[in-house]
Symmetry: C2
Subunit: 73 residues, 2 copies
């Protein structure tokens, strides 16, 4: 359960950063070569996304990996 909670918190963080940047799930997906539905799954905490894609998402959102995971435990 702890791991599920982590994915949910991680997803919320991605959603927060994406909204702060003012871009849609579709626009983010296009930037990182992932489908909008996959971005939606990540944000709902139902995808155990690989670090490679996380790095692409961080780059697209204009944050460092350390910033992306700030407060996500």
């Amino acid at each position: 359960m702890e791991n599920e909670d982590f994915l949910v918190r991680f997803g919320k963080r991605i959603r927060h950063l994406r909204n702060a940047k003012g871009i849609s799930q579709e626009a983010l997906g296009l930037e990182v070569d992932l489908e909008q539905t996959y971005i939606s799954d990540i944000e709902r905490g139902v995808r155990n996304v690989g670090v490679r894609s996380v790095h692409a998402i961080a780059t697209a959102l204009g944050v460092t990996m350390a910033e992306l995971f700030q407060g996500v435990e």
Copy 2:
């Protein structure tokens, strides 16, 4: 190629933190329920590991996710 470099840098960071804690790949693997060979693959940058396992590794190494990714870009 950028992504490959990222995985290599990420793997080196894991190795650095594991050595700093003074535990073996096998001991870390036992803590996070991954085989020693998988830990070795991560440290060599040839595994696109999921964030769930990264979180388990961070917990086992006694660092936050933000700390784990500090300087890894």
